[in-house]
């Protein structure tokens, strides 16, 4: 069994890790780092968005892949991130650090009450309940025009940073230069943090909850508490990613909270492979570029997506990571 599958043995046998264990993240992140140098600005900005989605998906997979709860309303956190960016930049609070921290705080404030209601349910009930909350947020954003800008949404100004000065650069320069590497550093840090969580005693408890809740409880795992913690962490990741994906668009609009957006997140996860730690990152990158190319070729891109999704579910249950390394499966 490989090191990146969710059920990688966290234990003694892996103390002699193969160099391959590090090859996937090192090669992957190096590729993303070199990408603006080899690809044009359009594609570099796409990668910028993909990194934002990757952050969202790392959080989503903690809930789904590790804990076994499929959130079908995770777009609500993406919207929370985007609207936080919109409100703060409108108030001339432009520092990305402040925006990110605020988005994380708002996500916690939202995830705790929503989580408390949702985590008591499992399977389809959990999915439907999270979907309901995201649609509630969507309706609010759509209808409360004076506060939210209604269907037109709210503009997001280009943020600044406390760490460096970007005031003399143009938007494309910022997004393919300093902010690109800013977000890459953020993605690497958040990936590392997630890796630590999944390799902790708490992380093992999550997989136990996913596999057999009753048995986990009798072995002393606190189901509800752990599920809530996981939901909040994933909400924070969702909002941080939401800030990032909305920056190149420059707009926070209600469609970010719409169920299609949640569906896209789940699609990306299946595409990359939820049974592998790095599946979420691969899924968001492939999805983002695939969607971009497809939309420029055909207006029937959704149809194509549907076919691709069907093929993945039927033939590649472990997603693209499962193809890249067939050993990296659940637990074989």
């Amino acid at each position: 069994m490989s090191v990146a599958s969710l059920d990688r043995p966290i234990t003694a046998a892996v103390r002699q890790r193969s160099p391959w264990a590090y090859a996937v993240p090192v090669l992957g992140f190096s590729f993303i780092a070199a990408f603006p140098l080899i690809a044009g600005p359009h594609y570099a900005i796409l990668m910028f968005s993909a990194m934002g989605f990757a952050i969202c998906l790392l959080g989503l997979n903690l809930v789904f892949g590790y804990t076994g709860l499929l959130s079908f309303g995770h777009a609500m956190f993406v919207a929370i991130g985007a609207y936080t960016a919109a409100y703060l930049t409108a108030a001339r609070i432009l520092h990305l650090e402040v925006i990110l921290l605020t988005a994380a705080a708002v996500a916690v404030a939202a995830a705790v009450p929503v989580g408390l209601l949702c985590i008591r349910y499992v399977r389809i009930y959990f999915s439907m309940l999270t979907l309901a909350f995201s649609m509630l947020l969507y309706s609010f954003l759509y209808k409360f025009y004076p506060i939210t800008g209604g269907d037109e949404g709210l503009r997001i100004k280009m943020p600044a940073s406390l760490l460096f000065d970007v005031s003399r650069m143009d938007t494309v320069g910022i997004l393919t230069g300093p902010f690109y590497y800013y977000v890459l550093a953020m993605l690497i840090a958040l990936t590392y943090l997630m890796w630590r969580i999944t390799a902790s005693p708490f992380g093992l408890g999550l997989r136990a909850i996913r596999d057999n809740q009753q048995k986990a409880e009798y072995l002393g795992v606190r189901i509800q508490r752990n599920r809530l913690i996981v939901f909040v962490i994933s909400g924070v990741y969702g909002a941080l990613g939401g800030v990032i994906v909305s920056i190149p668009v420059g707009l926070a609009d209600p469609s970010l909270a719409y169920w299609l957006q949640s569906g896209n997140l789940v699609f990306m996860l299946l595409l990359g492979g939820y049974t592998n730690f790095f599946g979420p990152i691969l899924g968001s990158v492939v999805f983002t570029f695939f969607q971009d190319q497809l939309m420029s070729y055909t207006e029937y891109w959704r149809l194509t997506f549907g076919i691709v999704l069907a093929v993945i579910v039927i033939f590649l249950p472990n997603g693209l990571m499962g193809v890249l390394d067939p050993r990296r499966r659940w637990s074989t």
């Binding site: 234990t11 072995l219 752990n226 659940w330």
Partner: protein
Amino acid sequence: MVHVSILQASELKKFYGAFCALDGVSLSIGQGEHVSIIGPNGAGKTTLVNVLTGLLSPSAGSVTFRGRDIARLDPVRLSRLGMARSFQLVNIFPQLSVRDTIALAAISTLGLGGRLLSSLQKNNAVWDIVERVSALFGLSSKLEQPAKNLSQGDKKLLDVASAFALRPEIILLDEPTSGVSTADKSNIMQVLVRAAKETGIKAIIQVEHDMDIVFGYSSRIIAVHEGKILADGSPEAIRARADVMAAVVGKL
């Protein structure tokens, strides 16, 4: 031996709708006892164990463990108090390896379940427990196998081993040998009894159908019939009771 009571149940009743599954059961389990609960299908054996371990709350009556009323305590608190159980049907984590399954219990024993960022891999206290428990249960060579790939007998052993890794004072086993071959049965029982001695478990309560095992391993037998205790005594005393043998075993 002085009877030091660990677990007491008094006047337990459990209704499923109008059906009375437990009808005023009282018992007291003492230190050093290996108690088998026997009875025909539907007698209320599993219901009794489920009530004793908090899976079901009783309709009436109380369960006292180490001086506390535990009838409405959740499983996590029970495990901390020192009570563990295994289940009648194989109850494992299909995707988790043997090592991780036992580690999970060790984590609870050591109170590490809330650690989000500490490395499990580097926690030697956990791996010490895993090593010792897996050796006791003969699972040392299968540590890296996912539980779903184990044989039926090993699945049963893993289920019981993970309960033992909680280092409980008392352990309730719901048919630990059901669904395994006769050869595996005695192996499981021998491993179990030896493990109980070595880990210092104070009492074992076992639901059991197999009369060879019941009379071969128990120090005390409680016969349940139609939600009531029909007899409670040593194996010799139970064997002498023709009515019990008729009701439970079906032979005179």
